[in-house]
Amino acid sequence: MTHPGPTATHWRRLHPLTPVVRAGRIVSVLLVALVISNARGPTDNTAGVYDLVLVVIVVLAGAIRWLVTRWTIDGVTLRIESGLLRRDSRQLPLARIQAVDVVRPFLARLFGLSELRVRLAGSSSADGRLAYLSQQVAADLRARLLATHHGIDPDTPEPAEQTLTTVPTGRLVGSVLLSGGITFVPSVVALLVLVRVSSTAAVVFGSAFATYLFGFVQGVWRRISSQYGFSVADAPDGIRIRRGLLGTVAETIPARRVQAVRLIEPFSWRLFGWCRLEVDVAGAAGREERSGRSTTSTKALLPVGSHDLAHHLIATAIPAPQPTTSPPPHRARFKAPLSYHFLEAGHNDVLVMAVTGRVRRTTTWVPMVKAQSIRRIQGPVQRRLGLTTVHLDAAGKRIRAEFRDRAADESDRLVEELTSLSRAARKAEAASGPGAPAGTSAAAGWFVDPSGRHLMRYWDGAAWTDHVRDREVAGVDPPRP
């Protein structure tokens, strides 16, 4: 055969400190308990002995788990084997990667370790997890996975990146406090007023307020610690996001994996001209057992920032000309009195853009290629006014661009236009090389079979060949257009 076959498998293990980090949380809790029980007095040490036995069991279990877990890259798949009693072997086809994350929880960070998470469409997040690897191995592996994904030589070093933006800590803290403050400040005022009026009411309200305050502080802390030091960089292998205060997360979203981009402008931020940017990527965040149905995860592309910055990032995430938008007809005011001032939508050949919202303005961009279905809905009120709503759905739950309350005759045309444009976009993508921007072609390699009949098909740099692969089995099947 002319195409590269699987090389001899070279199994590798996780980092030897893995069991220590895994057990770290439990052990630290036990150590604290031990210290406290000893501090009480040196009476009897039976409790301490039990604690020590527990620690030993936890560490032993971790060590066994470490011994039986191994991973390798076998040409186009990442294989992970684990389990002592029930052997579990996972194969992750690299061409189907939706995103690669390097996560470093606080404790792992102390030991210089990282966790690698590979997200595939329609898989649960646990499927592609390698915890823990040394930082260097994790970085190398990520570069290798993404290089293989893009069909270039796996030994290519990680391409240089260009930092697009970082979020200043002051602005992050301000924005988080501001969005929480809208309920916080009135509650404080109400409490102060109540204290003057009646003490019993103040006690009742105060205890409720304390619970609320606890949740509020926790929420603020969680948002600040997860988004701290947020930076976005553009690299040839995708958009890279880094964030985190105690534990850090580095995410890479390969180009053309973005299902939708959302720009959100909460009411309290509008005074400062701030907005938030989110991207939707296919690939599960939670567990979804139903086969064939893929879920999506939402990632913050910018936790807080100015409009100019947001638009610059949108142009990076979806490199396409912006469509011109138009508002719905005036009579839509009767159907949507609160949101009419925001409603707007439009499309061009490659991109759909729609604005919705009553208090918080939300703008959604969906690339035409990502359209899963097109729907038209007309309710009783809309029928009276001669209005209809058209949805363009992308993969996931409630991820769509809405042409809300458009004139009925316009929407008929819209459904046909969106259908044929999204079809044309899909065909253009299938015709162009895998993983490469339209017009250019990717280097030779294994990619997801565009015909859908097999898992992978070999691309020789100019055209699809007859060589196909399903899991471990290689075969021959002409590509037939």
């Binding site: 296919a282 893929s294 279905s373 007309q378 739950k397 409630r398 859908g452």
Partner: protein, 159 residues
């Protein structure tokens, strides 16, 4: 091309679906009328008759709604996509490209089986796309399922 595509024939669910709905609504309505009539009869003959009559009348209203709903279901197999429309108060039209199909569900409940009918549902990666066609005759459902499966395979596109 798009104009001609929209003119291609709309197909409807089997008329047996309407009979099935009549049976379902009719039996529930009769039961409600019986209970209401008996409960009303405790107070006298006139309230009993009125309660039963009311129940029968409301069954009629429900049946009329079901009739409209049954008539509104229609689907069309075009070259590249399946179009399904439905609804009376909220009129919905879904266009699902064959290439976006993830899997096809064919289900038949006990009552549906009695009438030799089944429901076909198309799933895409988007949770919102609802292409569901109820009340298809068995042969038609099997044909449509095979047709969709083969078209979906031929035109499959990546996420």
């Amino acid at each position: 091309m798009t104009e001609s595509a929209i003119v291609t024939t709309w197909k409807s669910p089997s008329p047996r679906l309407w009979k099935m709905r009549c049976l379902e609504a009719g039996s529930v309505g009769a039961l409600v009328a019986l209970v209401a009539g008996l409960a009303g009869a405790q107070a006298g003959a006139v309230p009993g008759a009125a309660a039963a009559g009311g129940a029968v009348l409301s069954t009629g209203v429900v049946l009329r709604f079901l009739r409209n709903r049954f008539r509104s279901w229609a689907y069309q197999e075009r070259d590249e996509d399946l179009v399904v429309k439905r609804g009376v108060a909220f009129r919905r039209l879904s266009v699902v490209p064959y290439g976006r199909m993830q899997f096809v569900d064919v289900t038949a409940g006990p009552v549906e089986r009695l009438f030799k009918l089944s429901t076909i549902k198309l799933h895409t990666a988007a949770a919102a796309s609802d292409a569901r066609i109820p009340g298809l005759e068995r042969d038609e459902a099997a044909r449509l399922r095979d047709q969709l499966a083969s078209l979906g395979e031929a035109k499959a596109a990546g996420l």
